[in-house]
Amino acid sequence: MPSTRLFARNRFLCALLALLALATAPARAGETREITDMAGRKIVIPADPRRVFGAAPPVAVTLYAIAPERLIGINVPLRGDEKSLYRKEAVDLPVLGSNAGMGRQLNLEEIAAMRPDLVIAWLGFYQEKGQVEASFAKINVPVIFLKLDTLDDYADAFAFLGRVFGREAQANEMAAYIRDALARVRKATADIPPAERLRVYYAESPDGLATDCDKSFHTEPILIAGGDNIYHCEQTSHVGMEKISVEQIVALKPSLILTQNKGFIALAKGSALWRNVEAVKNGRIVDVPHAPFNWLDRPPSYMRALGVQWLANLFYPARFPLDVKAETKKFYRLFLGVDISDADFSRIME
């Protein structure tokens, strides 16, 4: 019967097509589900997002920890001198810019061409949420927001991302690490009276004369580790880096200087300007490790979970004893997916 044969042939064709579709498209492609993001928005996203773009460095660095192979790009070029510390999945990713801070801004058309199925944006203090939503609505990609204001938020963010990517176990381990680190550091430093807290000056820029307020998100780790950031004020801009005079630093008597510029250590030790600054007199200027990502800031990230322990140990070795090397190895394994050697460790701490 011709009609049956036709039907049979059609069925065969359908099966073939379905098989083809299964072979080429990712599993569960097209399937979606509704979630509530960290901004409290209900939004429909792919059930298993495969091509993900993190729209700002703190987000992308977080995704780097939990789902590196899903990233379609990064925001800023990776530092060339630390290639060995990066996951191999990320080394060759294209640089796509970001929608936050200074530097390369993303190009929406370029993002569209990369065909992301999910954009994850930063619910930052200085980000206009509506604007971010509107811009990605133009290229018809769902956006979810991560809240990363404080180190505690990072623990929640990992737990949330674990659900997004179906990697709850790994994500919960990370979240637990952050919560545990925070709890231990807080416990060790909670009872230090304000007057006895270590006075810390946070030196940025090559001349060491830019800094950030103690209430700025840029310097949160100093606060958590029980240090007293001598520059007491409210943050006024996203970028921060406020100018300060040497005289004011002399007056504020810091016992320790954390610097983000290695060149500054030599400058401060060699200059008459700085010689009466207490920390310089005592030779206590410490360079912040930054490989492959900065331990404290720029970008702010979960690296702070290690950073606060290192700082607490640096500030109060008796109250917070720490095997920095062992802790660093453990942290890099868990979050960055690399096993570092002793040589790597000394390079990082150099």
């Binding site: 530097g103 820029s205 100018k243 300060i244 005289e247 002399v250 510029n261 008459a272 010689r275």
Partner: protein, 332 residues
């Protein structure tokens, strides 16, 4: 106002600037320190050392740097205005600022060492002016118009090169450092650097002052200057080279400080007239006083330092508007 009063104004500003700062010192501390220096008063050695550090090592270099930079920007601005016969010209006319900005950014990108940044800014400032003059000569004989065009092109060229450097810079630390350098800062200048730059700046400003009468003739027009016996090309290029050297030295010391080189010569001209042999020293003295005062505002008015470039703009623009109102008739 007479020229002879300006040194006293400068002295007064210097004394006030040395007495104020974010570190709380009472006038009695200052007097005590002066007394101790002269051997009249006994201070505990620790206190004396702190005062010496604050007044001599921290405030003095900054005040001296502000003075030197204000003087050099103003004197070179006045010289450029005479050479180009245009009261709206500022020391940046030939692209020196664009070049220095690019040089500084390059220094931040590749070294981050403060001294390297300064040297790189100075060198690229000179290179930019050289490129501008070269472009001017491409058009044929270098005239006023081709020089200005060459400077504009060179300045734009280096500004876009700066944008490229910014694009390549690490947005976490290098980029903000470049942006902050662009706004100018006097906070990191110390006596060592001043010893290097000060003689060149002082000699340069002195040489410009000596060229004052030739500049008067030159500001009448090339042919008239020639008919008055002035070697026009030698004077023009000598003055341009000196003013460029002096202004790029100051840019390399403290970054971009706008408006001083444009506004101060106008104020000085209103006060003592356009004769360059008086105008140039007056501009230098007034510029020094102005920048020291502006810097004192920058480092004292709020807890965070206001970038000096922002202060000179905020103070300079209203002054310029006032001056324009009074000088307008002369250009009609």
């Amino acid at each position: 106002m007479r020229l002879a009063l300006l040194p006293f104004l400068l002295l007064a500003v210097v004394l006030v600037a040395l007495s104020v700062g974010r570190y709380p010192l009472a006038p009695s501390d200052i007097l005590g320190f002066l007394g101790a220096c002269l051997g009249l008063v006994d201070l505990p050695p620790e206190r004396f050392d702190l005062l010496r550090n604050l007044i001599v090592e921290i405030r003095l270099p900054r005040v001296l740097a502000a003075g030197l930079i204000g003087a050099s920007l103003s004197a070179s601005g006045a010289s450029f205005q005479a050479v180009f016969r245009n009261p709206l010209v500022s020391p940046g006319i030939l692209g020196v600022l664009g070049g220095a900005g690019f040089g500084a950014a390059l220094g931040i990108l590749y070294s981050g060492d403060f001294l390297t940044i300064q040297i790189s800014a100075f060198a690229m400032g000179l290179v930019a002016v050289g490129v501008g003059v070269l472009i001017a000569n491409l058009f044929g004989a270098a005239s006023m118009v081709t020089l200005v065009l060459g400077g504009m092109i060179s300045g734009a060229l280096f500004a876009s090169a700066l944008s490229l450097v910014k694009y390549a810079a690490d947005p976490y630390d290098q980029l903000p450092a470049i942006v902050y350098w662009m706004m100018g800062s006097l906070g990191a200048v110390d006596l060592k650097q001043l010893k290097g730059a000060a003689p060149a700046i002082l000699i340069g400003v002195g040489a410009l002052t000596l060229a004052g009468r030739a500049l008067d003739a030159l500001s009448m027009g090339d042919d008239e200057a020639r008919s008055l016996g002035v070697p026009v090309q030698a004077t023009r290029y000598g003055v341009i080279a000196t003013a460029t050297l002096v202004s790029s030295l100051s840019v390399s010391l403290a970054g971009m400080i706008g408006w001083v080189g444009l506004v101060v010569p106008h104020v000085a001209r209103l006060a003592i007239g356009p004769t360059n042999s008086k105008l140039l020293p007056a501009s230098a003295l007034l510029g020094a006083s102005f920048l020291i005062a502006a810097d004192s505002v920058a480092r004292n008015i709020t807890r965070a330092e206001i970038p000096i470039g922002v202060v000179t703009e905020l103070l300079g623009i209203p002054v310029f508007v006032l001056v324009l109102g009074r000088a307008r008739r002369a250009w009609a």
